[in-house]
Structure formats: C-alpha cells, structure tokens
C-alpha cells in the first residue's frame, strides 16, 4: 500500500521528469530564435492585457451578488448550546435572533412538538412575567469558514404555531448554498495575511503528540476549529409563571429558572 508521502513524491518526480522532457524538446532546434522572441513577446502581451482587464472587471473586493459577509476575526460568537446555562438569560445572543413569535395562551400546560427532518434539540424555557402570552424566539449563529459568513442571506427559518396547548415547530426546507472564493497567490498572502501559516497542521507523525485537542465545551464563545466555526441554534421560549411544560425525552429542554 503506497503511503500518502510516497504518492506525493511519485507525483512530483513524474512532474519533474515531464519538465525535463519538455525542456529537452525545446532545447532542440524545433523553434528558432526569432520565433522564440515572438512567442515570448506574444505571451507577455496577452498577460499584460489580461492584467489590465482584471482591474476593469465589475467586481469589488469582498463582495458578491448577495454581499457575503466577512467576519472580523476578533468577533466573539456566542455558543448558543451553553449561553442560557452559563448566563441564565439570552441577552448576549440578542444579535442572533432570526425570528420571533408571540401567541395568546390561557392554558396551564404546554406541549412542545418538533416536525420535519431537521429538528432543533436545544430548547431553553424561561418563566417570564407574561400575561397569557407565550413568546418564542429562534436564535442561530452563522457558519463561518476562513472568516466568511456562509449563511449571509441564507438563514433558514421555521414555522411555529400554537394550537390546543401544543406548540409545534416545523423546520423549513433545507437551504443549499455553494460559495466560491478566488484567493490571492501564496506569495501575496504570506505578506498580507496576518494568519498565514500561523498554525500549520503538520500532523502528529509517529512521535509523541504534546498538544491537547480537547474542545472547550464550557466556553460561552465558539472557538474556531481549523478556521471553521459551526453554527449553533437555540429555541428560546418564554412562558407565564403558571404554565408548565410537559417533559419530552426526545428534546433537550433546559429550564433557565432551574425547574
């Protein structure tokens, strides 16, 4: 079985052999000196023309038709899986409110039902000073890769309804998004990108692996892993003091007030 290193090596040696053949071919007298000059001049003209055209293309830096958002690398994004547990409220995640609903409710017991292929299993329930009203808020943090917010303009929504003491949450159809980015060449990124090769992944080899790979689950902010931050979601439900929520083993219910 050929290892990855040997496969890479074979590829590079093959490329080098190809180059040598090419150079030998062109060392011969197939193309005379005058044609060499014309060939090189023509190639330079094409390159300079494309260089000029590239500055006239109707594109702006960091922009696209949907204005994909770039995230500042210092931005702290809350981990919605632990924010209610760690802070006792949803205040620090207010910027990530996707949608909210308000229903009149006069019952004393509330059942929660999830429908659809994708369900939100992270639900926090707060007993608030409400008068016959149930408030529901859907919070989501973005998917981020290389400081690019992939969910700009594509935040999935949901349908929420309340009938006969049953609060029904229906997930929306999955959104499929494909984004491309055209990067600068690595000699430019080396001097312009502050994070360039700052934490290269060389693998562990066969030696002793010294660094810890545990994920900080008790951190209320999301930490990037391989320049990626995965989205977290939370359904935050506020109920009046006299309302009880029926337990549901399929759902991860967290009561902010402790009950």
């Amino acid at each position: 079985m050929i290892s990855f290193v040997v496969a890479q090596l074979i590829f590079f040696l093959g490329m080098i052999a190809l180059f040598i053949v090419l150079l030998r071919f062109f060392k011969s007298k197939f193309i005379n000196r005058k044609r060499n000059q014309w060939l090189l001049t023509g190639y330079l003209v094409i390159l300079i023309t494309s260089f000029t055209i590239s500055y006239m293309l109707p594109i702006n830096d960091n922009n696209s038709a949907r204005s994909v958002r770039l995230i500042n690398e210092d931005t702290k994004i809350p981990n919605l899986h632990v924010v209610p547990q760690m802070t006792g409220s949803i205040e620090m995640a207010e910027d990530y409110l996707v949608n909210e609903w308000e229903f009149d409710f006069e019952g004393t017991e509330l059942n929660i039902e999830m429908l659809g292929e994708d369900i939100i299993s992270n639900i926090a329930i707060e007993t608030a000073n409400l008068n016959n009203t149930v408030e529901v808020g859907l919070y989501m943090t973005p998917h981020i890769i290389d400081n690019i917010d992939l969910t700009t303009g594509h935040i999935p929504t949901a349908n929420v309804s309340l009938e006969d003491s049953k609060l029904t949450f229906q997930a929306s159809a999955p959104v499929e998004v494909k984004i491309s980015q055209v990067n600068k060449e690595f000699p430019i990124r080396q001097f312009k990108d502050s994070n360039y090769l700052s934490n290269p992944d060389w693998g562990t080899g066969t030696g002793v692996y010294e660094e810890s790979t545990t994920y900080a689950e008790d951190n209320k902010y999301l930490e990037p892993v391989d320049n990626r931050i995965f989205s977290t979601e939370l359904l935050y439900i506020k109920i009046p003091a006299d309302v009880d929520v029926s337990p549901n083993e399929e759902l991860n219910l967290f009561f902010v007030d402790g009950d």
Partner: protein, 247 residues
C-alpha cells in the same frame, strides 16, 4: 602569445548577454507550464462543507498558486540543465574559465527569476479574467489584487524562483562533479521527506521551510533569499573551480 588584456567583468558581461539571447528557448516550456497550471487551477484548491439546521453549505477556494509552484520547479530544472554539457559547451566560444561561467550563469538565472516571477504573477490575472467569464456559481468572493499586492507578489515570487534556481544549480554542479550524485541527491531528498513525515512538526525540513515561508517582512525575506542564494552559488563556484577546464 596574445597581447590582449582580458577584463574579467567584460568576459562575464559578454557571456551573460550571449546566454540571454541563446537560452531564450527556456521560456517556451515556462509558457506551456503556466498555461497548463491555469487549466488545472479551475479545480478548487480547498473545499469545505458544512451542514447544520436546515442548511447545507460549501465553500470552494480557488487560487493561481499552481502557476507559481510550476514556475519554481521550472526554475530548478532550468538551473540544473544549464550545468549540463550541452549548455556548458556554448561557453567555450568565449575566453572563459569556470568562475566566469558561474558568474554569467548566476546573472542569467537572476534575470530569468525576475522575468518568470513577473509572468507567474501576470498569469494569475489571466486566470482571474478567464475565471470570471467561465465559472458559474451562486456567489463568488473575489480577493482583489491591488497594485501593491502585485508588486509584493512579484518580488516574493522572483526571490523564491531565485532560491530554487540556486538549489538546482548546486544540484547540477554536484552531478557534474561526480555522476554518483544523480542517485545520492534524490535519495537524500526522499529520505528527508520520510523522516519529516515521521517526525511531525519539529524537524530540519519543516523548520527550513518555515524559515522562508513564514517570514512576514518583505525586506527580511529578500535578504534571507539573497544571502542563501549567494551562498549556494558561491558553493557551486568553489566546487567547480578546480574542475579541469576544456582547452
């Protein structure tokens, strides 16, 4: 006996000018390689996928890095080839010795480093233009190359090519000294790769790589490359100076 006084610098200059005209065909292969690299750069360099609540997203990253990488390899091979007999024979149309050969070759390689560095960066622009008209995706994020970026990229690429040229020239010199180096050098390189792969991140090859590729200051980087290349060319000159000169 000739009464003409031979000026060392004028000899080097004449050989250098001759090589600039005579070895122009090396750019033919560079043109093909860079155009080929543009073609293969239409496959994404890196692909990321993410899934979450009602969401499936992917991010494909494209770059013209292949053009730079192929140019580096081209520089290495060109430098290696000009040490071979077929190219060395051309020098004997002049009054020459091994030192003037090395000087004129070094100047030639320095010149083609800058020329090929320029074409490598410009081919990135060609790639972007073709990409703009050829690719069809929902959204494209363009990391625009400013004129400052272009200049930085040009200098850095030229320096990298010069480094690879000096390595190729030294390798070619060693092979000319003794044919056994044809086997020793690849074995040494493969051995270093395998040892690096097994050792993880703290090893000679990785540290050497990071010494250049992690440098964020252009001036320091240029100094590093110039000093390294100068040492490599000097070593080549030292090795070849006592080799028998063709009469």
């Amino acid at each position: 006996m000739s009464l003409n006084k031979v000026n060392y610098m004028s000899l080097v200059k004449k050989q250098y000018q001759f090589k600039l005209k005579a070895y122009l065909n090396v750019f033919n292969s560079l043109i093909i390689l860079q155009l080929f690299s543009i073609l293969i750069a239409f496959n994404p360099t890196i692909s990321h996928g993410m899934s979450g609540y009602s969401y499936h997203g992917s991010l494909d990253s494209y770059t013209a890095d292949f053009s730079v990488v192929f140019t580096l390899l081209w520089g290495f091979i060109t430098a290696f080839l000009i040490t071979t007999r077929a190219y060395r024979e051309d020098d004997y149309t002049f009054v020459t010795n091994n030192q003037t050969q090395v000087w004129s070759n070094s100047l030639f390689l320095l010149t083609i480093s800058f020329l090929s560095g320029l074409t490598a960066m410009l081919s990135g622009s060609l790639y972007r233009v073709i990409f703009y008209f050829a690719k069809d995706t929902n959204e494209i994020i363009w990391h625009h190359v400013t004129l400052t970026d272009f200049f930085i990229g040009f200098m850095a690429t030229s320096m990298y090519i010069l480094l690879f040229c000096s390595l190729g020239y030294l390798a070619g010199t060693l092979v000319q000294l003794h044919k056994v180096f044809v086997f020793i050098l690849p074995v040494l390189f493969i051995g270093l790769l395998i040892i690096s792969g097994n050792a993880g991140k703290n090893n000679f090859l990785v540290n050497s790589f990071l010494f250049y590729f992690q440098e964020g200051n252009l001036i320091l980087f240029t100094l590093k490359i110039l000093v390294t290349s100068g040492l490599l060319f000097s070593l080549s000159m030292l090795l070849i100076r006592n080799k028998e000169v063709r009469v």
